[in-house]
């Protein structure tokens, strides 16, 4: 492979709790940053770049730097929903390659569960805009936006509920091996903290047709941090570096006559794979934003794992399980469906991708060499973003 290896993930931490009453989002961020630095063998003052999705009570990178007590030379406040962390990782790659910084920190903290935030089924607030004035009267919940994509996918390609359910089954299989995910499902009072079958998914209630409850991610507290460093710094860290070898960014939105079953990933994916010089069939670990089953289905197609419309046949037979022997292994931490979704899951895609390439996953794929982390932000079917990052083992 001829790709550049100038920046690497050197430190990671996932906040262990999914229900953390009395803890602030800023506490989650700071605790995670400290633990990720320790994982890397770096110290507080080594950080010279902050990437922040404007989460937490402080409200933005400006306040985060003050709160942390740092004077970074790079301050990036990219906020593109759940894909923010893939965009930020892409920017950190660029900034490090350009010599603007050496140790970049990405962090996330959220108390969505403790604050009872109805992410998927609540109203869509905010000021009146050219877009909200055209949509608010119709009561399209977040879930409904994704559900309309699934409806069209089933109509256009004949994809079945059973096939979509296979995505939930695979992630639950992985979650049951991850003690933090098991605790998450227990603390969030899941009905049945156990492996599930496609029939279980079909038997769960419909939240917005045709999406069943077990096709929808949880709403949790949580967060984490990722430290990305230059090659020079990475060589002296405690753990083997996980290289960032390609990245792509894109956005997509409702258009007259547009195809709702194609996401921004169709643009970001080829850019990232092209930069990395690898192809989807070489990928061992697919960390795909599983807000809902349909998100995974569409994004796997758009990234090129199978042709558009063929995801149903592709996932049949359980190939996405870490122990299927076929690959790619999907969301081996348990995903947003069964491990962790406080609102913006993108950071967990990077965390578990890095764990796999270090050999630290609870559903470890033997000798995993390449991972893709693909975040989807905003509303699939409406305005959304796609951020793709390719990770490689040292």
């Amino acid at each position: 492979m001829a790709q550049e290896r100038q920046a690497a993930i050197v430190g990671i931490h996932e906040y262990p709790l999914r229900v953390a009453p009395g803890v602030s989002a800023m506490n989650v961020k700071v605790d995670s940053i400290r633990a990720a630095l320790d994982d890397a063998g770096l110290k507080w003052s080594d950080i010279d770049a902050i990437y922040d999705a404007q989460d937490g009570e402080a409200g933005g990178g400006l306040q985060l730097a003050a709160y942390l007590g740092l004077r970074p030379t790079v301050l990036d406040t990219t906020q593109v929903g759940g894909s923010s962390y893939e965009f930020q990782a892409a920017h950190a790659m660029r900034d490090i390659a350009a010599g603007k910084c050496n140790v970049a920190v990405l962090s996330y903290g959220s108390t969505s569960a403790s604050n009872r935030v109805a992410i998927g089924t609540g109203g869509r607030g905010g000021p009146a805009t050219w877009a909200t004035n055209m949509e608010t009267p119709y009561g399209a919940t977040l879930i409904a936006n994704y559900a309309m994509v699934k409806q069209r996918h089933m109509f256009e390609y004949g994809t079945t509920d059973e096939q979509f359910a296979g995505i939930s089954v695979a992630t639950r299989h992985h979650a049951m091996r991850n003690p933090e995910a098991v605790k998450a499902m227990t603390d969030l009072q899941f009905v049945g903290v156990n492996e599930i079958t496609p029939q279980d998914v079909l038997d769960s209630r419909i939240v917005a047709d045709p999406l069943h409850l077990l096709e929808c991610c949880m709403i949790s507290d949580g967060g984490g941090a990722v430290i990305i460093a230059s090659a020079e710094v990475a060589r002296n860290c405690k753990k083997p570096p996980v290289w960032l070898i390609g990245a792509g960014e894109a956005t997509k939105y409702r258009e007259n006559g547009g195809d709702i079953t194609t996401s921004a990933g169709a643009q970001s994916g080829p850019i990232a794979f092209g930069e990395a010089g690898v192809s989807p069939d070489e990928i061992d670990i697919a960390m795909i934003y599983d807000s809902f089953t349909i998100t995974v289905a569409v994004c796997l197609e758009d990234l090129g794992f199978c042709p558009k419309g063929e995801i149903g046949a592709y996932v049949e037979g359980g190939r996405l399980a870490f122990d299927s022997g076929e690959g790619p292994a999907l969301n081996t931490d348990g995903g947003g469906l069964s491990s962790n979704h406080p609102g913006m899951r993108g950071i967990f895609l990077l965390l578990e991708g890095a764990r796999q390439l270090r050999g630290e996953s609870t559903s470890q794929v033997p000798d995993a060499k390449l991972a893709v982390a693909h975040g989807n932000g905003g509303l699939l079917g409406g305005t959304h973003t796609g951020g793709t990052v390719i990770l490689a083992k040292d």
Binding site: A118, P137, G139, A140, M148, V207, R254, N256, I260
Partner: protein, 142 residues
């Protein structure tokens, strides 16, 4: 009577569209430049295809096709809590624009709405507020 949330103003882009709804008109814009995709919707001050600000308003005949839909079973938002299952849909209007709306006038939205169904606009009066909301009802075929 329905209790849908109202559009809110001042909001300069959508004002003319909603004034149209008060007059029973489904309004959309077209770009006057000879560009590739002259139909503009949602309302804007420019053509997103070519960037021109030379746009005119037109009135749709109000007929179209269901592109996709969902039936919402759970919404905690006031105005929808008591509604029961209701549909949200993208409608492709015959003039070439796609709008979010709702298909109404069916006994059971979970079984009586289909992709490809022909629908016609109607303006649904609301319990509160000055703006009737454009929704769509299946066209009875002969």
């Amino acid at each position: 009577m329905a209790k849908r949330p109202q559009p809110r103003f001042p909001e300069p882009h959508t004002e003319h569209f909603w004034e149209g709804a008060q007059q029973g008109e489904l309004r959309y814009q077209r770009c006057n430049e000879d560009c590739g995709d002259p139909v503009v919707f949602y309302p804007r001050h420019h053509c997103p295809d070519c960037g021109s600000d030379d746009l005119d308003w037109h009135v749709s005949k109000g007929e179209g096709t269901v592109y996709t839909f969902s039936v919402v079973r759970q919404n905690r938002m006031p105005g929808f809590i008591d509604l029961g299952a209701y549909s949200v849909a993208y409608i492709d209007l015959d003039e070439g624009f796609r709008m979010m709306s709702s298909v109404v006038g069916v006994d059971d939205p979970t079984t009586e709405i289909q992709i490809g169904q022909r629908v016609r606009v109607e303006f649904e009066e609301q319990e509160e507020g000055d703006y009737p909301i454009p929704v769509f009802r299946p066209i009875e075929e002969d």
